[in-house]
């Protein structure tokens, strides 16, 4: 298996900062998908919290091969850097005709780190149709400060994503994204493999930064989503600016003038 990584571009990372996820459709070869379904059906052994990813999975496992794919390895390294550790992994199954969806939630507990984030890799080894209960996720929800299922009262939001995808699709999500397994209305089990990765290095300029000053970067960070309240949508942009500053080390970056305006505090010395 090739170990050459395909790092993300600045525009792709900016899109991740704005949307809270990065989707890679059908990137996993069918041979790995078939082995994954067998392994997920049997169940997976636990991995101890904090295990270095490099040694967590034997080379002949589907997880190792999945994470070794250049497109996956490059995306992971671009977001959490080299040598991340495994937080945990799990098999998620939506049973046939189970009748109920998961409530909307963020995983783990409220996590408001301003300059670091974990990613969760969601892998779908088989095709997911609209009736199979593909994961519901809410673009641009990852910076909202809520604790787990406290947001479960909310069932639907404009612009939400009800995932349908071809076999072999990988979605990388920010730890804070609002999501939930939807109701499976088919007679077939729906599998998803999820692994959470923690960074071990500062998450600063880990991707291919050759396009860092592309206007498309700012355009991505200035994206409003249909479910945003008018006023709070502006705060979303403000918070993205702060995260982008942390990820690039550029404390002067702004979108329009949101962060600059409210930090302008002239002193007498400024007129000296």
């Amino acid at each position: 298996m090739s170990t050459s990584k395909q790092l993300l571009t600045s525009v792709q990372v900016a899109r991740f900062v704005a949307q809270g996820f990065l989707r890679l459709d059908g990137v996993v070869p069918q041979e790995i998908n078939e082995r994954a379904i067998e392994a997920l059906t049997e169940g997976l052994p636990d991995v101890a919290y904090g295990t270095p990813l490099g040694g967590a999975f034997a080379p002949d496992t589907f997880v190792h091969e999945l994470l070794d794919l250049p497109v996956v390895a490059g995306a992971v390294e671009s977001l959490v850097g080299p040598e991340p550790t495994v937080d945990h992994h799990a098999v998620h199954v939506r049973e046939p005709h189970e009748g109920q969806a998961q409530p909307l939630h963020g995983d783990a507990i409220i996590d408001v780190r301003p300059d670091a984030f974990d990613i969760q890799l969601m892998y779908y080894p088989h095709e997911v149709t609209a009736e199979m209960g593909g994961t519901l996720s809410v673009p641009g929800s990852h910076l909202r400060r809520i604790n787990e299922t406290d947001v479960g009262r909310v069932q639907n939001l404009r612009g939400q994503t009800r995932l349908t995808c071809p076999a072999g699709t990988v979605v990388l999500v920010h730890h804070g994204i609002w999501h939930g397994g939807r109701r499976n209305d088919t007679a077939h089990r729906r599998f998803m493999y999820k692994i959470r990765l923690n960074p071990t290095v500062p998450q600063v300029r880990l991707w291919d930064v050759s396009d860092l000053h592309d206007p498309a970067v700012t355009a991505e960070l200035n994206t409003y989503f249909p479910w945003y309240e008018w006023a709070t949508g502006r705060l979303e942009i403000y918070n993205r600016v702060l995260l982008w500053r942390a990820l690039t080390g550029d404390d002067s970056f702004d979108v329009e003038y949101w962060a600059t305006r409210v930090s302008n505090r002239p002193t007498l010395r400024s007129h000296a």
Binding site: Q102, V154, Q155, N156, L157, G180, W227, E229, T232, L235
Partner: protein, 91 residues
């Protein structure tokens, strides 16, 4: 008496502003709304729900941000609860 509950999340604190989120809970048992079951809201605005006979029984308060947390984002702010009450027994 059975209560149907409609929760609308609006774009501003005005009841006639656009719906950005919605939830349904059906005390009659005839339907089973759940998370992620529709991409289009049942009404374009809160006012449209009133015009269709839904009774507003709770609106979120307008609360100033806590000092030091003015730029934080969290739950949707503009939450409106509506009900319809039906006579008759559960099917």
């Amino acid at each position: 008496m059975r209560q149907q509950v409609l929760v609308l999340y609006l774009a501003t604190s005005a009841l006639d502003s656009d719906v950005v989120g919605w939830s349904r809970y059906d005390g009659t048992g005839r339907t089973r709304p759940t998370t992620g079951d529709s991409d289009e809201p049942p009404y374009p605005t809160g006012l449209a729900a009133l015009q269709d006979g839904w009774r507003l029984f709770q609106a979120s308060q307008l609360l100033p941000p806590q000092p030091g947390h003015e730029y934080d984002v969290s739950f949707l702010k503009h939450e409106f609860f509506f009900e319809k009450v039906e006579d008759g027994s559960r099917p």
